[in-house]
Symmetry: C2
Subunit: 475 residues, 2 copies
């Protein structure tokens, strides 16, 4: 049922230089947002508003009709017309040789029977004529890696950062929240796509592109329903070969959510239990919230994968040891026992009454005297594959003592061959976040969200180890 | 086995005016912290360091021995001596009529057999002589409501705010993190207690005091093990009568945590499954993390209890509707269907294609034109007992349009008889947090943590309704 597209077609789709905007007007918020986002993305191509009653729209030279557009330059069209006249415009665009189209308009399958009919007609026309169409009922995309944007949403906050995280979402507003949160956490974005009703191009097509675009190292998906499971399997396999984790929020655990998805983008949510098994088998990471998604993306972009599944935790409070141990148990994280040699070395470092274990309570005096050595000892333990250790975050640049303490640790941290996570003791400031970020360190701010991310990270590493042994995904 | 104390004795214990500090020295961090915290709490009583080799310590006039202390003024002693000489000091203090003692020193049951022996001797002496002793192996307390502190920890951050949240913790550092997080969230504290090994006074004694101190409206506990279940039952019953929720982190779900608790404060973690049942029966709210604890405390201090268990959610994204519905299902929150009359009224407000449901997607145009009316309509629905509705947080004071939007909503919000939760769309700034806080509104920043807090809030309200019908807690 679903067509297949050549990789180079999709690649072109996401790299337009001359963009017609059919239905652009001074009042239209979508067009205003699109211009604004193009500027923020530092887009250097050209935009050609099409409006029957204007010579310019928002300061950009406009064309009265599609026929009036300059010959053979336009390589992409954004359509923001009423749904009743969209198909005619698409035909006209095709007549002008324009086969890459973003359809922002709503009024299709999400509105009921009439709209579904319209969507099927549109779909058929596009398939028959090899037209790649994004939407309808979506906000478009931002290709931050290549400084391109035809994104018509107005809620992505923060400076655009080109980077390694690809984002595909079936809900415009929700996916905007994900992007804002990524940028706030200094995570760069390769390509950001809102898929809408997916009349032609589907979430699986976009993910297929992300796996092979050469930029994306982590894929995030906000999914109401998959439409092409065979392609999803192929994509997941390819992603595993390239060690690119796919992290999804898949709504539809509850009856209410299934209903919401159907009236939202007309998606079928599918059998949730079956999907869960499929995700596990194919190494797709399922998270329950945007908070968890962004934290999981953070750890994958910041740290190399661990070589085994043993987490070591080092903190300065017996109470936190218990709290962390309980959370690890809840999230399925293994806290291995320490080697005898590790225990002996730690006993020499710690007060008489301390009993070295994992999680390790270094006690107040251990913290003051020898965190660098204690981290070394734990990193030497062959049962530990990833170490989560405490530090004290500097409040601001004047925080001299804390800086000295962190500087000493940082020089060590970058030497370790195993991944390391910092759990800051004390509340974090924006300064502290930048400080750790600029020093290339991954910190978790909220132990609960952070440990969940660590759990996903370690499970995925385990999945990849198995996958590489078999070079296949088996049931 | 456990003694009982008269309420007025404990009340006096927490309100000292003349405090001896036995073992105070210039080098001692505990004493430095204690002075610092007393200043931050605006303590107006007197402090009397006792040091055999000093006339003053950190600028405070010192006394060479307990015998040298001024006659009959001292009503409290802090002891920070080595454990080997503590019992003699306690005896001497008793000889001077001082029967309220905070013992900070470690080296007792948490260190093994020898320490346990020492602790039993101390316990026996205190019980035989009616001495109230907090600790050993703890950091003391802050009575913020009465501007008193003998707290020896150095990690509570932020300006002290007297308020309605009582905090009791068996781990010093962990409980300090809880306090810092409360203050950061503008939640005031009544009494803050770190209990340590609980040789004499136990966590149940402190909770008993909090339930009746006239200040505390919410009790938080970080618990490694209870020592007096009959008293805990009594306290829970009393708390229910006074509508004071008890929110606990109880570590010990995992074997690792049980081990950590034992080496930390010598506490027995107990059978976790049995405890869970007990908590449910007695309306004690169990949370898994400090994040969840503080968020749950926030909702209880900010909102009146709902009269039923129906949550209404209003947002502007179909994707978020699905995401929230799934989280509600996961946390056991009921999302009732809307009344027919509500649906009809909403249909008049929303675009043709919108299908009013709960969660409600108001769509972009609904959001722009009539959020105030939409909130009114949802609040009128008799199935909805608490409404969580979106707003846009202002970034700063210059954010004029957003301010106007919020101001319009706020005047309504304060009129509603049912509790209302704001889910801000867009990232929150410190300015936005203050803005909502100063306008008396409860907002959730992270939907996941926030919805968990709402779940606890609604379940507790349900527990209280049942409790008030029966005026009893039944198995």
């Amino acid at each position: 049922m679903n067509s297949s597209y050549r990789a180079d077609q999709i690649k072109c789709f996401f790299a337009p230089r001359h963009i017609a905007v059919v239905g652009a007007s001074g009042k239209n918020l979508w067009f205003r947002n699109m211009l604004d986002n193009a500027r923020r993305a530092r887009f250097e191509g050209s935009i050609y508003p099409v409006n029957p009653r204007a010579d310019e729209v928002r300061g950009v030279k406009a064309y009265r009709s599609i026929a009036d557009l300059p010959a053979s330059t336009i390589d992409f069209a954004v359509v923001i017309l009423k749904s009743s006249i969209v198909l005619d415009a698409v035909k006209e665009l095709y007549g002008r040789g324009i086969k890459n189209i973003l359809l922002v308009s709503s009024g299709y399958a999400e509105t009921g029977e009439e709209g579904t009919k319209k969507q099927i007609q549109l779909q058929q026309y596009c398939r028959d004529h090899g037209i790649l169409l994004m939407g309808p009922n979506c906000l478009g995309f931002m290709n931050m890696a290549e400084n391109i944007s035809v994104f018509t949403g107005g809620a992505v906050e923060g400076t655009f950062i080109p980077g390694a995280v690809g984002v595909v979402g079936q809900s415009g507003a929700t996916t905007e929240i994900i992007a804002s949160s990524l940028l706030k956490n200094s995570l760069g974005i390769s390509l950001f796509v809102t898929t809408g009703n997916e009349a032609v191009l589907t979430v699986e097509d976009y993910m297929e592109h992300l796996v092979s675009d050469g930029q994306t190292r982590v894929i995030l998906g906000f999914i109401e329903g998959f439409r092409n499971i065979p392609k999803l399997k192929k994509v997941a396999l390819e992603a595993a070969k390239n060690k690119i984790p796919i992290i999804v929020i898949k709504v539809g655990r509850s009856v209410k959510a299934v209903k919401a998805a159907s009236s939202h983008t007309g998606a079928l949510a599918g059998n949730d239990g079956v999907l869960d098994g499929f995700f596990r088998q194919y190494g797709i990471i399922r998270v329950d919230s945007i908070e968890d998604m962004v934290e999981t993306a953070r750890i994958f972009t910041r740290l190399p994968l661990p070589e085994g599944n043993g987490l070591g935790i080092c903190t300065l409070s017996g109470g936190l040891c218990g709290l962390y141990a309980d959370l690890c148990e809840q999230y399925g994280i293994s806290l291995p026992s320490l080697e005898d040699s590790t225990i002996k070395r730690l006993e020499q470092m710690l007060p008489d009454f301390a009993r070295p274990d994992n999680p390790l309570d270094v006690t107040g005096s251990g913290f003051q005297s020898g965190m660098d050595t204690i981290n070394d000892i734990l990193m030497d333990d062959c049962n530990i594959d990833l170490l989560a250790t405490l530090s004290i975050a500097p409040k601001d640049s004047d925080d001299v003592l804390i800086h000295a303490f962190n500087d000493m640790l940082i020089s060590k941290f970058t030497d370790y061959s195993k991944p390391l996570v910092i759990i800051p003791f004390k509340e974090m400031t924006d300064y502290a976040r930048s400080y750790y970020h600029e020093n290339g360190l991954y910190f978790i701010e909220q132990p609960q969200t952070g440990l969940k991310a660590i759990a996903h990270f370690m499970k995925y590493a385990g999945f990849l180890r198995k996958f590489e042994q078999n070079n296949d995904i088996r049931g």
